[in-house]
Symmetry: C2
Subunit: 268 residues, 2 copies
Amino acid sequence: MRRTITGFSNPTVKFLRSLRDKKHRKAEQCFLAEGLRLLIDARETGRLPQMLVMATSRAPHPLLDALESDAAAAGGEVIEMDEALLAKVTGKDNPQAVCGVFAEFDTSLAGIDRVAAPIWLVAQALRDPGNLGTLLRTGDAVGAGGLILLDDCADPFSVEAVRASMGAIFTQSVAQATWAEFAAWLRQDGGQLVAASLRDAQPYRGAPYAAPCFILIGNESRGLPQEYEDACDLRVTLPMLGRADSLNAAVAGAVLAYEVLASFTPDP
Amino acid sequence: MRRTITGFSNPTVKFLRSLRDKKHRKAEQCFLAEGLRLLIDARETGRLPQMLVMATSRAPHPLLDALESDAAAAGGEVIEMDEALLAKVTGKDNPQAVCGVFAEFDTSLAGIDRVAAPIWLVAQALRDPGNLGTLLRTGDAVGAGGLILLDDCADPFSVEAVRASMGAIFTQSVAQATWAEFAAWLRQDGGQLVAASLRDAQPYRGAPYAAPCFILIGNESRGLPQEYEDACDLRVTLPMLGRADSLNAAVAGAVLAYEVLASFTPDP
């Protein structure tokens, strides 16, 4: 059954708005995903919203109908509100006609099955949620297993990261750990740790990548701490032909990930 | 000589604030670049600010001194204001201690010398200034000549694009044109137009790229119009192993650009 909300002071509206803030997401253990496309991706990977919020002005859509009945059958709440109210929830003038509240996933390293995929992305102190979401999206494209976030990274469940992931937040595993926890976990079993580096490195093209390959990406402004670089099994350089000495973090991760993927793929 | 500004209602403060807005940038034909690093990059490529703005609380820096004397010698204005006022100008709580106002460059296709570089990036209806700046930064890294913006793109002189370019706004050529203008210009002389596409395409790896190679990147949500894809000399596909059918625009451009660069580089 749908519940219609009309007032801005309604507790549900306040709850939804609060999910834009990390502190409240942590307290509630859930996050917001906006747009039909994202919600359909979630459903197809077996995730249903605890709460489905729809604009009364939405266009009818068979997949939205399916989503609504699945969410309701799983005990989820279905809510309607007018577009102006939804704009307050999403903080956007032209909100998508639908959004959903999902339970946050387990993000412990114990949830990572390293042999499930040949490539894993690892980001250290990544501050930009857009970069984080873009890395998830790239991971999905290269067949990576997921993204491991080291030290003080942006929140993978922020609205910006979820949006930039284009649904990959639902298909990629996500783990959060300190460097010490990750290093200990990594060395419990096989796995090659690779970073782009300017020191003691070989060309990224044709380097001896080995699965499972963990591609380590550094902070946007400071790059990787030297200790982390030193701990890598392989350091590679990308050509930097211009004045700058680094790439955008999501770009560097993607160029490396596609190179690793190509090295794992037999020539046609 | 330095001029000190103390009041929020000062016309110079209003002028500087107005440059966050595209309409005012077009009217004034100038743009804002923030941070010492960016201003040093500009100076090293021969561009000096018309107006140099420094926080009174800044740390002394020999390169800032050199910048100040060069800017003043070239007829530029040097202004000091306290950090709180600079925060109003930049719209940030913790503003960089220095920013500069630069004259906008010529962005006509006539300014593009296609044989000056083997790679050129071309973006169509790119809406995100961060993606735009990231493409400039990637272009600098791969030795591209510049970025050609087709149809209704974000403004390359916006504060966000300039920041994301990490100085490449000063090293890369930038042109703005309609598709019709660009297509006519391109075919006046040699040049290969390449796009990532799902239709009638060959693997991006090992495709027959030829310089000058123009890498065409489509709009973030709609991709390239079919007419534009049809006009390409080469259509290539990138592996998409997951659920999504596209990459972030700046990521796709970077993966392609690094592949084209590798194909132009003899094996070591």
